[in-house]
């Protein structure tokens, strides 16, 4: 202890309780999380592990014809086989990789595009803002699925076309949100200071504004992912999205749909997998929003 209380010595600092590591805080928050959020996180992590380790988890390869057509559940094939004799369980596992992977990629492209344009519109303002704003208005005047159908009829269904089309259409919503939240930050003094300092546009966008709008954008990422995921699944179900023989949940429902008429619930499995993931992500996002907005019970 030093004699003068105003002087802080290294001994004082050392006697303080050690600063919490970020993961300690995270762990504590996790333990306090509501049951829905825990369930959501558990589901999301399970899906991710399934997707990443698909070749090791799945008992059979993705596209190999291993048994008779429409084999029943149980025995050699736990969940039976599909319309070509491929193992249903394996395709469900690989579907986690393909369907979720494509949706995540699409959402990422959409956020990159929408976020960048949104920041650009706020920082530059003026005619750039007007032009981008009106363009987004027009794009949003048509239902997304209908617009996607029109574009797909012209360029033809393929993986890359699908990702680009959905990403561009969805980036309109990201643009609106980014612009709305960034507008509150761009008027603050530190942004003005950075401008006067002569910082470049990219620096102001990425280092001054972006860190301050990250929490709402992160929550929006979850919600946009759900929306993109459902849109892509719907398109795949209609036969216009992810094309065979790729294992994908939307197409799997379509391919095995006739089984429903015999009271067989196999086609409900991939559909249920989609529903469960979206519900889980919604739970996690709700909890995250609650945490970051600083709301108390």
């Amino acid at each position: 202890m030093s004699a003068d209380p105003a002087v802080i010595t290294s001994a004082d600092v050392a006697s303080l309780p050690p600063r919490k590591r970020w993961w300690e805080t995270a762990l504590r928050e996790l333990r306090r999380a509501p049951i829905t959020a825990k369930f959501g996180l558990l589901a999301v992590v399970t899906y991710m592990l399934c997707g990443v380790f698909a070749p090791w988890v799945a008992p059979y390869p993705e596209n190999e014809l291993v048994g008779p057509l429409y084999a029943p559940w149980g025995g050699q094939f736990l969940l039976g086989t599909d319309q070509l004799g491929r193992d249903m369980l394996s395709r469900l596992v690989f579907g986690a990789r393909n369907t979720i992977g494509i949706a995540v990629l699409t959402t990422a492209v959409s956020f990159f595009l929408g976020g960048m344009l949104g920041l650009l519109a706020t920082v530059l303002g003026g005619w750039v803002d007007q032009l981008l704003g009106r363009a987004v208005d027009v794009l949003m005047a048509i239902p997304q699925l209908i617009f996607a159908l029109v574009l797909l009829s012209i360029v033809g269904p393929s993986m890359i076309n699908l990702i680009l089309i959905i990403a561009v259409l969805d980036s309109t919503r990201v643009f609106r949100l980014t612009r709305a939240v960034a507008m509150n930050v761009v008027v603050l003094d530190f942004v003005e200071a950075a401008k006067l300092q002569g910082e470049k546009l990219g620096w102001i966008m990425a280092r001054e504004i972006l860190p301050n709008i990250l929490p709402p954008l992160a929550a929006e990422f979850g919600l946009r992912f759900c929306f993109v995921f459902l849109t892509i699944s719907a398109l795949s179900f209609l036969g216009l999205g992810i094309q065979p023989p790729t294992a994908d949940w939307g197409s799997m429902v379509r391919e095995n749909a006739t089984l429903i008429n015999y009271g067989n619930i196999t086609p409900l499995l991939p559909a249920g997998a989609i529903a469960l993931l979206t519900v889980a992500v919604n739970f996690v996002v709700d909890w995250f929003l609650h945490k970051t907005s600083g709301l108390k019970e």
Binding site: D137, V138, A141, I142, P143, Q144, L145, I146, F147, L149, V150, L151, L152, S153, I154, V155, G156, P157, C226, L230, S233, A234, F237, L238, G239, L240, G250, V253, A257, I260, N261, Y262, G263, I265, P267, L268, A271, G272, I274, A275, T278, V279, N282
Partner: protein, 322 residues
């Protein structure tokens, strides 16, 4: 009333302009995007001569601006052009394909809306009045599940239970122009029920949020402090101001029906315009796709316009902007 009329006309004008721009986009996308739909229509083995002849036949050889003017002129008069699928002398106009199906879709959508709107409003209002009760929690959880599920998941669950396990309804929605009304209702029941589930969930959540938002405003607190009965507060204080948000909720969800209808029609093989559009997209029959898209877009814009007009008309503050 004069201000109201002016506002409605202004909004209508804006809607027409939006629709015009949308038609421009839908049309020009064909010219601007790379697409080998000629090959898709005629097959990979088509010689340049056959391609050129076919392009001349359907009018693709003319400059885009001329084609657009010709097309939009036709659309305004109710002529959407000729389907790519028409061969030789046998012409199949887009209108002849769309018209009967549009009627079916309209029937299905109205069927769903008539059930869904009152149901959702009552459920949402109750959830808002008894918020944080057990009822509120359960209804919210169910609504979240329904909103998060793909339409085809709900559709197949309904089909499994209400058509296969307990054969009450039909699993196929095959109707034709000659089907009598009672039979038609029975066959359209499952597609309509699926749509009801989807939009009731959405609409209920939005109604709940709108009403809670309203009930937390200071003037409701004032009425409560004055000692007004709960019934009075809801009917005389809250409801007059609730029309605008509720009308918006209804219109937005009816617009959402448009998207839902596409998937649901395909699941139940219901001969509507959504299924026609999906078929046309996979066949790359672009005039049909464009025709359907314009109809969908026009309905969507019109419904959003309606929501705008109702919310402005019921709110004097919006009617006289400063």
């Amino acid at each position: 009333m004069n201000a109201l009329l002016r506002m409605v006309l202004k909004r209508l004008g804006l809607g027409v302009i939006t629709l015009f721009v949308v038609s421009l986009i839908i049309f020009s996308a064909v010219t601007m995007l790379p697409g080998d739909f000629t090959k898709a229509m005629l097959g990979q083995s088509a010689t340049p001569d056959t391609v050129a002849a076919w392009q001349k036949e359907v009018g693709l050889d003319r400059p885009p601006v001329e084609r657009y003017i010709h097309w939009i002129g036709g659309v305004v008069r109710g002529d959407f052009g000729v389907s790519f699928a028409s061969k030789g002398g046998q012409q199949r106009t887009v209108v002849s394909l769309i018209a009967p199906r549009l009627e079916n879709t309209f029937f299905l959508a109205s069927f769903a809306a008539i059930i869904a709107v009152p149901l959702a409003l009552v459920l949402g209002l109750l959830a808002a009045l008894y918020r944080y009760s057990l009822y509120d929690r359960i209804v919210n959880l169910l609504a979240l599940t329904a909103v998060s599920s793909p339409e085809f998941f709900l559709a197949y669950i309904l089909m499994l239970f209400l058509a296969v396990k307990f054969p009450i309804f039909y699993s196929l929605g095959t109707v034709s122009a000659t089907t009598p009304l009672d039979e038609r209702l029975l066959r359209a029941a499952l597609p309509a029920l699926t749509l009801v589930l989807v939009i009731v969930a959405q609409m209920m959540r939005m109604t709940r949020a709108a009403v809670i938002n309203l009930l937390s405003s200071p003037y409701i607190e004032m009425a409560r402090l004055k000692g007004a009965s709960p019934r009075d507060i809801v009917l005389h204080h809250a409801l007059p101001n609730a029309w605008a948000p509720i009308a918006t909720v209804i219109a937005l969800n009816l617009a959402y029906l448009i998207v839902g209808v596409v998937v649901v029609e395909v699941v139940f093989v219901y001969p509507g315009i959504g299924q026609l559009m999906v078929d046309a997209v996979s066949k790359r029959d672009i005039p049909v796709v464009q025709g359907c898209a314009i109809i969908f877009a026009a309905t969507y814009i019109l419904l959003n316009l309606l929501a705008d007009i109702v919310s402005i008309a019921t709110n004097p503050r919006l009617l006289h902007p400063r």
